[in-house]
Symmetry: C2
DNA sequence: TAGCCTCTTTGCCACGTTGCAAGACACCTG
DNA sequence: CAGGTGTCTTGCAACGTGGCAAAGAGGCTA
């Protein structure tokens, strides 16, 4: 049986309350007393019981970060940044994976079940619908990451996806490319929709026609999806001379196919992605990408969530995270 | 204020105890009563309070997985598998990052502080020393992942690193390579040491000399470290014709340098890694690697940890996870 | 119809902690 | 030396749940 405040108190010859005062540091304690208590704590190896503390305090000091897949580099990097941001508030982060739409429901439900385990939730899941979020939000504060069509009701942090996509495509246009494909479109995915909008807007602004045959949908955002989409594009009559991928991982998959087919990057096909994951910096060739400020996103999301935990009545805000084009050899040619 | 069992009980016209019986399902409850209680739960949006439940039950249903860096693909994939394995036992996984040796101490300490938050810990951190683990292990069950020189004292799951390294290097020897370099050696890292042992053993068994100049140490296991180590190897007089990297990420970094220097893979330099991360399947060329069974590792670690939570007196076991060579184009030539 | 048995439901209490507010004590000022 | 001030310590109670064992209800057998 682990030692409790009572045991420590007995050993140090003080009341349990004083032990608590020493441990939490909220109240003034005489140096001599503190020393005695600390020694007793050390001797007994006392550790505060988190469950009891949580129960008494009415909060757990934990927030949940819900992502589709932890082993997608973007989310892993985001998770890392989120954990770091939460740490500064003395909060811990519990990671939840939704995997896929179907599974997501189950998970979200599970998260809701054990809800009292978290003080708040950061959702970076794409599959979750408005009603799901709403039902969760009744119970506890929620911050959403990524675009949402129903964003106004909740705190929300994202890059400007239309602008990001436009910038990426404009970069390809500036290189003189005229058959620019897109990989990653998804009708039921808000972020993807905005990126498609940015893509078509950029083309139209440049006076280029939008060819639906050059817009490839993918079921998910995996390397394999990017590879398959690229293969489909190449199997059409006239291949593209550039491709804008809605994520770096898709782009890496697309490049895989291009290599396999013996096409040169960027001479035959230029490739640009979004996310700026580390893989892209070391791929062959290194990947041009739109780099969202993940630290900013994580920090804002955490700060906002914790503010909301403190005051449930705060008005919802939309925060736009910075993002910038990072040009590497997948578009700019071999150095 | 959230609804409690008392509120539900009042509404359903039963005692709080009956509500608890319905929720936990441990005791028989008449169908009519159950229906009434469930309706009241739904109406009030009642959710069990995790803190109170943990306090009463004396366990939290959470385990910690401690890894160096979550955004290293291997650990992200391992985390994913661990979360899935834990889920089958109705356990949740809390992820902790140690980042680096120094930071690790702080984290481990923090984990120990809040110790009662977890029922057990799975350590996949390389920087942690025996004394650290021992101090933690006093408080709660621990399972170690990866090689340890002090393994006998704790439950422990790992691949056979010597055999894995030998297999990888033997593969390069079989291809006729004669100047086989190694990237990733670290004197103070048990896993790295065993891999170096496997490397030298394979060379000696094949009658090849071990050239210390071909063994590159790296401070960490990042892409950049692999890239730099490869550059150092190439800057020496005679370049290697093959390189065995102690992780896929190192290998991807090494390939980056090879591409930059205009060397062909595998014609000029064959590359093999360890970990079988997804990146390697889509790199250019796809990476030959030793594939450890991550699902096995995660499952065994979780099963073992939970068994130990149930019985603290279990004898420590060493479990060897399967691993196999996966040959791709980074060694076998362009298809 | 009494007695026994099984199935349900319940009351009591403790898990370990901390908020609150009062109590104890020493010391200082006038 | 009384009164006051500030510092430090304490007792009490409650957070919400579930283990235990006993009480209650209803039905069946003899």
């Amino acid at each position: 049986m682990a030692a409790t405040v009572k045991d420590v108190a007995r050993r140090a010859g003080v009341s349990p309350r004083t032990v608590s005062n020493v441990v939490t540091g909220t109240t003034r304690v005489a140096d001599a007393t503190r020393a005695r208590v600390e020694q007793a704590i050390a001797e007994l190896g006392y550790r505060p019981n988190a469950a009891a503390r949580n129960l008494r305090r009415g909060r757990t000091g934990m927030i949940a970060l819900v992502v589709p897949e932890l082993d997608q580099p973007y989310f892993a990097e985001l998770a890392r940044a989120t954990i770091a941001a939460a740490e500064r508030h003395d909060y811990r982060v519990m990671l939840e994976q939704t995997d896929a739409a179907e599974s997501a429901e189950r998970r979200v439900f599970a998260a809701d079940q054990d809800s009292t385990l978290f003080d708040g939730i950061i959702f970076s899941a794409v599959e979750i619908g408005l009603s799901d979020v709403r039902s969760i939000s009744q119970a506890r504060p929620v911050v959403l990451l990524g675009e949402r069509s129903f964003e106004s009701a909740f705190d929300h942090v994202a890059i400007d996806n239309v602008a990001a996509a436009r910038t990426a495509v404009q970069h390809l246009i500036d290189l003189g490319r005229t058959r620019i494909a897109a990989i990653g479109a998804q009708d039921d995915h808000d972020t993807a929709r905005l990126r498609t909008l940015g893509y078509t807007t950029a083309l139209r602004d440049a006076g280029q026609a939008v060819d639906p045959a050059l817009i490839e949908s993918t079921r998910r955002f995996h390397r394999a999806d990017g590879a398959e989409a690229m293969a489909r594009l190449l199997d059409q009559g006239e291949p593209p001379d550039a491709v804008f991928c809605y994520s770096d991982v898709l782009a890496l998959g697309a490049m895989h196919t291009l290599h396999t087919r013996g096409l040169r990057i960027p001479e035959d096909v230029a490739v640009v992605g979004i996310d700026d994951i580390e893989d892209g910096r070391f791929s062959h060739p290194p990947l041009t990408t739109i780099s969202p400020d993940k630290e900013y996103i994580a920090r804002q999301a955490v700060d906002r969530l914790i503010a909301r935990i403190g005051d449930r009545e705060l008005a919802a805000v939309d925060l736009v995270a910075p993002s910038e084009l990072v040009v590497r050899q997948s578009t700019s040619g071999t150095p």
